[in-house]
């Protein structure tokens, strides 16, 4: 918390001193390159997608593309994507939370905490093509774990499991989801002041009561916010799914990808609508995340 105090006072100090300086036009010139860049490479593409989504094949204005989003195949694609994102967000969130708890408040040696954080930094970045290969080598038909289990008498694929399915992909996604959760939630867990626990005990609360009435309520915005982030992360993922399933599972990102390549649908307007639909979902996710973060920061400004 003291870091935040220093942060705030540094911002205030810089801001306070900066106020007497008039914001002349020259000052705005200094930020011109940045905003120009953003305009060119973020807004232009986005607007172009928006405009494209309202055009039909002849270039006339239409809402049809958005209406087509509600066609059964597209809706099922959305549903699959949402389900995978939810599953990996919740799964990764829970596993990540408990692991983060284990190394912060769980009484494990400090060295383990640093190791876990470093590893999480690596693992959350290890996604896409190599991750897919890694999981094929582990749980594919001739993967190491599959073979080991078969030797122990437990045939995964006979029992209906397949890596190239919904759950297989979810499992693979978890590999970068739960480290991300660890990275996001560890500062929040660190922020649980020891005195809160002591005050609660001092007032007669058991450990469970403390968690139920103080710690979890305080952590909930952070946990939820982190899971929202995880959701968004999975929702926008493309490379992993493509490498693992070859486009077999119809995720929205895969659909958009085939649009760019010019396959199948041949309706670019629809592709743009899909893309914009995705942006809307992500924007919604990040708005909720911001709101939750504001909430918890406000409480913790104490």
């Amino acid at each position: 918390m003291s870091n935040r105090l220093i942060q705030n006072s540094s911002n205030q100090r810089d801001a306070r001193r900066a106020r007497p300086v008039p914001s002349s036009l020259l000052n705005w010139l200094g930020v011109l390159p940045f905003f120009l860049f953003i305009f060119l490479f973020v807004f232009l593409p986005s607007f172009s997608l928006v405009s494209g989504s309202f055009q039909d094949r002849q270039g006339n204005f239409t809402f049809q593309n958005y209406l087509d989003l509600f066609s059964p195949s597209i809706l099922s694609a959305y549903w699959v994507t949402i389900r995978i994102s939810l599953a990996s967000a919740v799964g990764g969130g829970i596993l990540g939370f408990f692991m983060a708890y284990a190394v912060t408040l769980g009484g494990l040696p400090k060295a383990l905490r640093n190791a876990l954080l470093t590893f999480s930094g690596v693992a959350s970045n290890f996604a896409g093509v190599p991750l897919a290969f890694a999981f094929i080598a582990t749980l594919g038909r001739t993967g190491m774990v599959t073979v080991l289990l078969k030797m122990a008498g437990f045939d995964l694929y006979d029992r209906g499991f397949s890596l190239y399915s919904f759950w297989g992909l979810t499992l693979t996604y978890l590999y970068f989801q739960f480290p991300l959760m660890i990275l996001i939630i560890t500062p929040a867990l660190d922020g649980l002041k020891r005195e809160w626990r002591e005050a609660a005990e001092n007032l007669g609360a058991s450990s469970w009561t403390y968690w139920r009435r103080v710690a979890l309520p305080i952590l909930t915005p952070s946990i939820l916010g982190a899971m929202i982030l995880l959701f968004g992360n999975a929702f926008g993922a493309y490379a992993t799914a493509l490498s693992l399933t070859g486009g077999f599972i119809n995720l929205i990102t895969i659909l958009i990808g085939s649009q760019i390549k010019g396959d199948v649908l041949q309706n670019t307007g629809l592709g743009y609508a899909l893309a914009i639909g995705m942006v809307i979902v992500m924007a919604g996710a990040i708005t909720i995340y911001y709101f939750l973060r504001r909430r918890s920061e406000r409480w913790l400004r104490v």
């Binding site: 973020v42 593409p45 890694a134 190491m144 990275l183 992360n233 926008g236």
Partner: protein
């Protein structure tokens, strides 16, 4: 700390550790099986002998370095300027730096192609043009972490006082920025750069649509479709690379927790 609690902690660590390491182990083991019947590094030898490997690796590395440089050149002066002269824009910049999360790679590349492959830019007609577009796209993609690192670094020093001191000694903006401020935020900038480079090296989505198998990510994918053992060894190489970068970052940061949203998926 009760014994039972610590036991649970170890349980979760064990579970997580298992999940972390099994895939790596499996991949490594698989990559050693290229020669029938014995463990060998044949797959690795074949990969390193492949001229395409070196070419794509170097290409992606170049793009990564350009991305880091361009990103820093763009973001560092801007964040500095805002801290100094336009503090009211701080919230806006922070919001902007989160935009790449709202526009995931697949959507970004879609829009970029639509805008820049035609008039008036025609960027995709030449290799150079495409590379420029690639670097621009990567700068957008890595913006959240670059911004966060630079902002954190500048947060910790008194930007205004340093600037005023330098000005009173006659320094111009260039000198101030690169000889006074930059050395003091070196660690943050370096760690942000490493993160950017690590991201770009393995990136697939944007690379596959813009440059195809000239980049490392799509190259790995191509190998994976044909040669299973080599793909595993590539996965291990890629992991070792990421580990090296992130390890360097951790070394630089020592204890501060760096979060990154949206890696190279």
């Amino acid at each position: 700390m009760s014994k039972r609690n610590v036991l649970w902690s170890w349980f979760w660590m064990f579970l997580g550790g298992l999940y972390f390491f099994l895939p790596l182990l499996a991949t490594f083991e698989f990559s050693l099986k290229a020669r029938k019947g014995v463990y060998s590094f044949l797959a690795y030898e074949r990969v390193f002998a492949d001229p395409l490997f070196l070419r794509t690796f170097i290409f992606s590395l170049e793009m990564a370095v350009f991305t880091a440089l361009a990103g820093i050149l763009l973001i560092f002066p801007t964040v500095y300027w805002i801290r100094l002269k336009l503090p009211q824009l701080r919230g806006l910049i922070e919001f902007v730096s989160m935009l790449p999360f709202v526009v995931p790679a697949i959507v970004l590349v879609f829009g970029l192609i639509r805008v820049f492959s035609g008039a008036p830019f025609f960027l995709t007609n030449t290799f150079t043009g495409t590379n420029v577009l690639l670097v621009a796209a990567y700068v957008v993609l890595t913006m959240p972490y670059l911004y966060r690192s630079i902002d954190t670094g500048l947060q910790a020093i008194d930007v205004r006082t340093l600037t005023e001191a330098a000005q009173s000694l006659g320094a111009g903006w260039g000198t101030i920025l690169f000889r006074v401020i930059l050395p003091n935020v070196r660690v943050s900038i370096l760690s942000g750069s490493f993160l950017a480079v690590a991201t770009v090296m393995g990136e697939f989505t944007i690379a596959s649509f813009l440059v195809g198998i000239r980049a490392f990510g799509p190259y790995m994918s191509l190998v994976g479709q044909n040669k299973t053992y080599e793909s595993s060894s590539l996965a291990i190489i890629s992991f070792a690379l990421t580990w090296a970068f992130i390890g360097l970052i951790q070394l630089l940061n020592r204890g501060r927790v760096q979060t990154q949203i949206a890696g190279a998926h």
